[in-house]
């Protein structure tokens, strides 16, 4: 199968995937006990007012009718109106998703730029003090809860050392024209150096907090794979041929070791997207994670469905990219 055929097939398969996800999410969210009509009308609102709200939101209809009406609107691209924000869900998502994608992507860059070199260093210094240190560091990274880490780093770097800002994507006084919604990309497009530096300054700490666990995972996995690869016959052959050590490690051992790591990174990206809620809350980062979590707590069904669909699409595309990268890394892999 050619690559374009493979990509097309995967995109078409997303349709039944989305159908299944919407049905599952719709059912689960409606099974959770609660009364979103009361939350929308106001906690102190009298019951008759709550009933009016319930009818207005269509929550008085049977579940299957609600699902049918929702899917009818979805086919037209209408994700409904959020009960919390009173705005079309699509508008809410478009406002917020750049923040989450930017944060997650930056975190992913940190994971790749730091996790991979640390994995290489660790594997090529097996059982040396440096290896032991890095292994303890990775254990620390995978064990520590992200909310605790976020608060600790905020305290250390924002309050005491005053190196990074406490939160937000950019300082309020800096004007940045919104084109894509990604502050870093928009500041590059508009040649706004001040906004670019300020955005990078703001994103570093929350992205690093988000990346730490992933970095530790990648480092451990790569170390393990590299150690295995370095004992293989083809590595001995490469050394015997007189290849520089640098080429042996990077050209041969690393390339083979990266395939499972790329899989993990792809899955990790999807996982991080869903796990940004805590980081976004602590760093006051405007993103989809906080919106989705708030939607669940308030039983805002249209927002829950819209956010889930969004994440599903992004996750599916991220995995597609991972599969394409396989073909690049390993010429033996074909579809």
């Amino acid at each position: 199968m050619k690559l374009w055929q493979f990509i097309l097939r995967r995109l078409i398969l997303m349709i039944p995937l989305l159908l299944g996800i919407t049905l599952l999410t719709f059912t689960i969210s409606h099974l959770v006990p609660g009364d979103p009509a009361r939350l929308a009308a106001g906690l102190h609102a009298p019951p008759e007012v709550v009933e009016i709200m319930r009818r207005r939101l269509g929550l008085d209809k049977p579940l299957y009718v609600q699902y049918y009406l929702y899917m009818k609107r979805l086919i037209r691209g209408d994700l409904g109106t959020s009960i919390m924000t009173r705005r079309p869900v699509i508008e809410d998502i478009l406002t917020r998703w750049p923040g989450t994608i930017e944060l997650t992507t930056f975190a992913m860059i940190i994971i790749i730029l730091m996790g991979i070199p640390l994995g290489i260093i660790s594997s090529t210094n097996k059982d040396k003090p440096l290896d032991h240190f890095l292994r303890i560091f990775s254990l620390f990274g995978v064990s520590i809860p992200s909310f605790w880490l976020a608060l600790l780093l905020q305290l250390l770097f924002c309050k005491y050392l005053k190196i990074f800002p406490l939160g937000y994507r950019i300082d309020p006084g800096i004007y940045l024209k919104r084109i894509t919604g990604f502050n870093i990309i928009d500041s590059i497009i508009t040649l706004n150096l001040k906004a670019l530096l300020n955005s990078l300054w703001h994103i570093f700490l929350p992205a690093f907090t988000l990346a730490l666990q992933g970095m530790a995972t990648v480092q451990r996995l790569l170390r393990s794979n590299m150690l295995d690869a370095l004992t293989q016959d083809y590595i001995r052959m490469a050394r015997a041929k007189g290849l520089p050590e640098r080429k042996v490690i990077y050209r041969h051992a690393l390339r083979n070791s990266l395939i499972p790591v790329v899989t993990v990174i792809g899955l990790m990206y999807g996982g991080m997207l869903g796990g940004t809620f805590i980081i976004e809350s602590i760093f006051s980062w405007q993103g989809l994670g906080r919106y989705g979590a708030r939607a669940i707590l308030n039983l805002d069904f249209p927002a829950i469905m819209g956010t889930t669909i969004m994440y599903t699409v992004i996750y599916a595309i991220a995995n597609l990219i991972v599969d394409i990268l396989y073909a690049y890394l390993d010429p033996r892999i074909r579809y």
Binding site: D35, G42, P47, R56, I163, S284
Partner: protein, 568 residues
């Protein structure tokens, strides 16, 4: 030479050096190029005339800018500086009402109508004059949107008979009620419901499908208040700026701009307050205690109208027995709760009303922590302690409720009574308190409620939580207002509350409410745990900041000014 070792060691050293240089460089850059230097004392500095901005974080998102719809505290923090009411509560005396957009008023016979004489020379932000027509329009709009769309605040003024309200002259309006409703004036001073909106702006954006211009007003603002909307970035911040034509004028010191970012975590707000990048904190109790004593930060404890109760289902055995409910009231360690949960900030509640509210009875009986008495009452009721097994529901995200529940559970266990705890969301609580069967005996045994007033009148507390509509069907959940979680029905109390709601004689109302409180405490449909004072946390350069207990979570920004703060 072992090149393998050499390469990796160099890599490691280089990475460490780069990280250290980056960290040190950032710190140096921040220290010398972002911080402003404090000028020496002897140097005369000509004060710069610059805009004074007050930074007040909010703990939640703004859902709407329409005052007819807004019924949540984070949203109302933005609404209240922009929209005003005819009357306001006196912060020092909750029974006293201050003329505001209405200069004076008369109350008709039997309290069925009220004539308000409106303040002249008041304009909306768009320049349209405020007048009697605007009052009737605003009330009509709020009530209609409640009836059409289910927006909550309209119920506060739902006693108004809009059809029979009359404009007597441009600055005199007659508001007629559907029935005598003595709390009406207090309802008119409330922060939800009776806010006055600009009719011209609404009519200019009305459509046949949206005759009240809801779609426009949920994203735009036009009131008579001291501040106007400058910017709203959803889920990020709101900026309000001074209304230059405000009817009270701008003599004296005020702030020009209010910047309200969303900072949901109290710990983050605390860090910002400590570093001085926000002016008012809005911290939780624990964070407020932590910053108490920090130079430059003021922590003030002031009375509020908030109280915490545990309701007991009076329709469900064994709680349908008054003696059992009284026994449980003796189980709870009230003083211990104030000491350990409130860190000494607060007081045991005396009855169902908070002490800062007019009509509160200082002689109202109070239960104490007495396990012996509790056992005696259970025995008298014909129960052994180990026969009592109850479930107590609370909101799991509210730490204080969880701790109160745990305290009751622990004390009950000392005499053999079992109380199982059930944490849930607000959404989940509704299901257990209003079961689908409609039968009160299927509802939860016990539930914790933290109450804040919609308006400062004992009726808002007592009618919402202890009244019943239909005494002949006490097990039907629809015989009760939503917040009567105890499904408590007492015909004598009903008569008292009915009379107190009808009579406009203030002295008689106070007398009736005192009687009501004693009946309620005697019947013990709830444990009255504690009153929660409000805790204000702010920087010392913020002046004029005061707390009005009748206005939940909102601030009178007009009274605030800044003194002694370095420019930002």
């Amino acid at each position: 030479m072992n090149t393998k070792k050499g390469l990796t060691t160099i890599q490691a050293i280089l990475i460490i050096i780069i990280l250290v240089i980056a960290a040190a460089g950032s710190y140096v850059w921040y220290s010398y190029y972002t911080k402003k230097k404090v000028p020496p004392q002897e140097e005369e500095v000509t004060p710069k005339v610059e805009e004074v901005t007050l930074i007040v974080p909010r703990g939640g998102i703004v859902m709407t800018l329409d005052p007819a719809e807004s019924y949540s505290v984070p949203t109302h923090e933005v609404i209240v500086p922009v929209y005003e009411t005819l009357l306001r509560y006196d912060p020092k005396n909750t029974s006293h009402l201050i003329p505001w957009l209405a200069e004076s008023w008369e109350v008709g016979k039997n309290g069925m109508w009220y004539v308000f004489h409106l303040r002249k020379n008041v304009t909306f932000h768009c320049g349209t004059p405020f007048n009697a027509s605007a009052v009737i329009y605003s009330f009509n709009r709020t009530i209609s949107l409640m009836e059409e769309k289910g927006f909550g605040p309209g119920w506060v003024i739902s006693a108004i008979d809009i059809e029979h309200c009359k404009i007597i002259d441009p600055y005199t309006v007659n508001i007629t009620l559907k029935y005598p409703y003595a709390p009406f004036l207090y309802a008119l001073a409330a922060q939800w419901g009776p806010l006055i909106i600009c009719p011209a702006c609404c009519k200019a954006h009305a459509t046949p499908e949206d005759p009240w211009a809801y779609e426009y007003m949920k994203e735009h603002m036009c009131g008579t208040g001291p501040y106007m909307l400058a910017e709203w970035v959803r889920e990020d911040h709101v900026t309000l700026v001074k209304n230059p034509n405000y009817w009270k004028g701008w003599k004296g010191k005020h702030v020009d701009k209010i910047y309200m970012p969303i900072i949901e975590e109290s710990s983050t707000r605390r860090l910002r307050l400590e570093e001085g990048s926000i002016d008012i904190g809005g911290l939780t109790l624990e964070d407020a205690i932590a910053v108490n004593g920090t130079p430059g930060i003021i922590v003030e404890v002031v009375p509020s109208l908030n109280n915490l109760m545990i309701f007991m289902n009076t329709q469900k055995p064994p709680l349908n027995n008054k003696l059992v409910r009284q026994a449980i009231s003796y189980i709870f360690d009230y003083e211990g709760a104030v000491e350990t949960i409130r860190h000494g900030l607060g007081a045991q509640a005396r009855g169902p009303l908070p002490s800062a509210l007019w009509g509160w009875d200082p002689e109202c009986p109070q239960y104490t922590h007495n396990l012996t008495k509790a056992k005696e009452l259970l025995e008298k009721a014909g129960y052994k302690p180990e026969d009592i097994k109850l479930e107590l529901w609370y909101i799991e995200t509210v730490e204080e409720e969880r701790r109160v529940a745990e305290l009751l559970q622990a004390e009950a266990a000392k005499i053999g009574v079992t109380i199982e705890l059930r944490g849930t969301t607000w959404a989940g609580l509704n299901d257990v308190l209003r079961p689908g069967s409609g039968n009160a005996t299927d509802a939860a045994d016990m539930a914790i409620l933290y109450w804040y007033p919609d308006f400062a009148d004992p009726d808002d507390y007592l009618s919402n939580m202890y009244y019943c509509y239909n005494e002949s069907d006490p097990t039907n959940i629809y015989s009760y207002p939503y917040f009567n979680w105890a499904y408590y029905c007492n015909s004598t109390l009903n008569r008292i509350l009915d009379e107190a709601r009808r009579t406009t004689n203030f002295t008689r109302r106070v007398e009736l409410y005192k009687m009501a409180q004693r009946i309620i405490v005697e019947d013990a449909p709830a444990l009255f745990i504690f009153e929660e004072p409000a805790i204000l946390t702010y920087r010392s350069w913020v002046k004029g900041y005061y707390f009005n207990p009748c206005y939940v979570g909102t601030i009178d920004f007009y009274s605030i000014y800044i003194e002694g703060r370095e420019s930002r």
